[in-house]
Symmetry: C2
Subunit: 503 residues, 2 copies
């Protein structure tokens, strides 16, 4: 580590804000950069821990002098640097090659560059008018068009916006569908519409349910669709439930096809669902928050066949494509709906008498007012990698999944169902001879949580687990970290065996 | 500028992602830091332009080789650095001391440090469980409690969450109010409730209207309240409209008191509104997105007297407190509502069988799934400035506003109504002798847009304008930039006179 010069004993309040841009503050910033680069080097070093686990009460009590409490008086810059180092020390290194815990992991240096530049752009407030954010407005426009071309809409026609995450993107899709079929709800409320029902997979992301509650449909009017043994929606079940809803006098409005479910990574059959949507005049939304990245791969995009028939698509580059959070797009095939649905024509924000072409002001399409700039990092990564670079990244992640699948397929002590995300149980030797039945289920249910707890305490690797339906807790392996290699997969499997052997 | 070594002619796709953490990529990152620090130095240099204005078509055509289009093949790192510099070059320097355009401006070096560290934390995905984000979950908890103490709720009791901006925070408040009074709407939809009406100032932020559309109330059920000559809600008008709504058989549910309206900076009389809310059993929400920062100032917090009687409060540290976007909190007085309203109990996300105290997992309170980490920068700034530092910042901004007000109060060619935000017309000499009337109004309406266009083209300063009600376009001066001084105020006034003199 480095020694802090005496000048850092000055409280920052005396340097700031008046002296921004002067030498002491710039030097301070450079010291932070030093902390940062040293941290990044360590992140890629497999001999460092993924995390240094402590319980909440330990952190709250102020472990090793790390004091989370806020105070009336300013701290010295020296102390701020110490706080920064402590924050990094007790955080989880989500970019570590052995962190497999979430749908998005890893660290892309070009994404980093964005974040660093964001610093310098002082992106304090973006209403997303061309006036304030000329370059970003255009980057967003070009990138969304490119994404729509990749979805397969002719000439990339349509509309879209970046939102703060897939849950909000999915919420947009429900709002827009309602506006398309019942525009009067905007002014008169849900009372102006008949009883509307929505359909989604029993394995779909919970954000569809959150949207149905928030937007005033009610979760009981979200009808869950049955899935086959691989977790894909059964189209006949959709049609039966649509007919049943109509028989009751309800109006079927909206269907989500999930392209990459959260747990199994299942891809619903979009073409067959689209046929039913056309037949019954329903909005088709494809939730590709997780799986949308596959559209970049010529080898794997067939899993989303039919996506070009969707009315709207959620696609999160911050998941499989490795863009730093947050970066989620909602794409809409019909132009004008997004604006019509959300525009409130606030004269104080969107003055029509500006000197430039105000059709570039995109703010009134959003449910937000100011928006965080999520586009720049994505645009910059696309520049740096090219479309082919994203393709290689996707292909590599799927290759590693296949490697893991093949590795544990016939390995003693592992069991798994057939899914795109590699999901598996580790069966400790003590359970292997037990017959199928309630006792085995109950004991197996406790294995993954125990292994995970040991993993977190030893800090060697991280992988998620969850139950699903009638299946007891199982591990779900998600590979989107560009730094992961086969040796990290080997490590994970052996670590699970080591930790779980005596359970 | 600096010369790029030969190694940057390597396409980044060849360096990335496999070689993250190795020397060439680390060197690349350091070069970006060099761009960044040089940019920051310039930002605080008043001799640089606030912006270098170009029309959309000019940027799209690729001015001076700046190519926004995405391509299949990767670019070289050298080109990526050029792209970064171009992005900065054509962006607006919102941290410039003479940028007064929005409710939030300026650059705080400690906020910067956060962004820099965010880089190193690789904050790619936050579901906001303690598992993934132990330090941030605790920082959020402690900071929200501190904010609730400052609002004045006993012992800082209550609940809250950071959201992606004030519009979403306001949307939360409406959802929570509905859940409190009509919890069955969550499952059964708006059909389960009577006709609900909401009330807000005619000058309130348009996000309340967006929320009423999105959540299924309908904008017609949002009733606008009349304001006095200073833009504050007239309590008697609220009571009359509540009585009228009840007479029609509607159910008055929710009232927003705005603490700092967007244009005039007016503060609604919270205590008188709270009396009416108590009398008629309605939810009181205080939208302090803009004015909440005044709570930090002993001298100015009286403008929010009565805020402790609110059921919920929106407070955006990213506005007057100078925290980099995005940083918006929704605070709720009654604990449990936020969770009850939004929780969907997704077993695959929030496993109850973890080894730590899972009440620290805050994710299921949010309408989002993953959340961007907005807390760290705020926490770090609070550490660095202390509560007293924020107070000084607020006091300084309000002093500068008073300085501007006094400067133009009796100055020839300026007129203004009485508001907290300094709003004013510049009257060019050619209009000064015109009598009040339609011709003067129409000509005056065009003055601010013309001066603004000239400002943007010369790039010397930026200030917003808008019409409001029957008032033609006027300038609105917003001071939240910590780097602004009286000389910048002087400059602005003289620049308006210079640009507008011959109109």
């Amino acid at each position: 580590e480095f020694n802090l010069p005496k000048r850092y004993q000055t409280p920052p309040a005396q340097l700031l804000p008046a002296k921004n841009g002067e030498e002491p503050t710039m030097q301070f910033l450079l010291e932070v950069v030093e902390i940062l680069t040293s941290y990044i080097r360590k992140t890629f070093d497999r001999s460092t821990k993924v995390l240094d686990f402590h319980h909440p009460h330990q952190l709250l009590e102020g472990i090793e002098g790390f004091n989370l409490e806020l105070s009336d008086q300013p701290e010295s810059l020296e102390q701020i640097l110490v706080d920064c180092r402590d924050t990094l020390k007790y955080g989880v290194r989500t970019g570590h090659p052995r962190f497999f815990n979430q749908l998005s992991t890893g660290l892309d240096i070009v994404g980093l560059v964005h974040l660093a530049l964001q610093v310098s752009l002082l992106l304090v407030w973006f209403r997303f008018t061309y006036e304030i954010a000329p370059v970003f407005v255009l980057m967003e426009q070009l990138t969304l068009k490119k994404m729509r071309e990749i979805v397969g809409w002719p000439d990339g026609e349509g509309d879209g916006i970046f939102s703060p995450g897939g849950a909000i993107s999915n919420m947009y899709s429900v709002m827009i569908a309602r506006y398309k079929f019942f525009p009067e709800v905007k002014t008169k409320g849900m009372a102006a519409a008949p009883r509307l029902v929505l359909f989604t997979s029993e394995h779909s992301h919970y954000s569809i349910k959150k949207a149905s509650a928030a937007l005033g449909f009610g979760t009981e009017n979200l009808i869950l669709l049955n899935t086959d043994e691989r977790g894909r929606v059964i189209p006949a079940d959709l049609e039966a439930k649509v007919i049943e809803a109509k028989r009751k006098g309800y109006v079927p409005l909206f269907v989500t096809a999930t392209a990459g479910t959260t747990v199994y990574g299942a891809f619903d059959p979009i073409n067959e669902i689209a046929d039913i949507c056309e037949k019954y005049n329903m909005w088709l939304h494809v939730d590709g928050a997780w799986g949308g990245g596959l559209l970049m791969s010529r080898k794997h995009r067939h899993k989303l066949n039919g996506v070009e028939r969707a009315n709207s698509v959620t696609w999160n580059p911050h998941k499989m494509m490795g863009v730093p959070l947050q970066c989620s797009a909602i794409l809409v095939r019909e132009r004008g709906l997004l604006q019509g649905c959300n525009s409130m024509c606030a004269g104080y924000l969107f003055q029509p008498d500006k000197q430039y072409d105000v059709t570039y002001d995109t703010g009134d399409k959003a449910i937000q007012c100011g928006r965080h700039v999520d586009i720049f990092k994505f645009w910059l990564m696309w520049k740096a990698k090219g479309t082919v670079g994203f393709e290689q990244h996707i292909d590599k992640c799927l290759d590693l999944s296949a490697y893991l699948y093949n590795k544990i397929k016939n390995r003693e002590g592992f069991e798994m169902p057939q899914h795109t995300n590699v999901c598996f149980w580790y069966i400790p030797p003590s359970l292997r001879s037990l017959p199928d039945g309630e006792e085995r289920r109950q004991r197996l249910h406790k294995v993954a949580p125990k292994i995970k707890a040991m993993m977190m305490e030893s800090g060697t690797t991280m992988v998620g687990y969850q139950p699903q339906g009638d299946k007891v807790n199982f591990f779900r392996m998600v590979i989107s970290n560009p730094a992961a290699t086969r040796s990290d997969i080997d490590f994970l499997v052996e670590e699970i065996e080591r930790l779980g052997h005596d359970l």
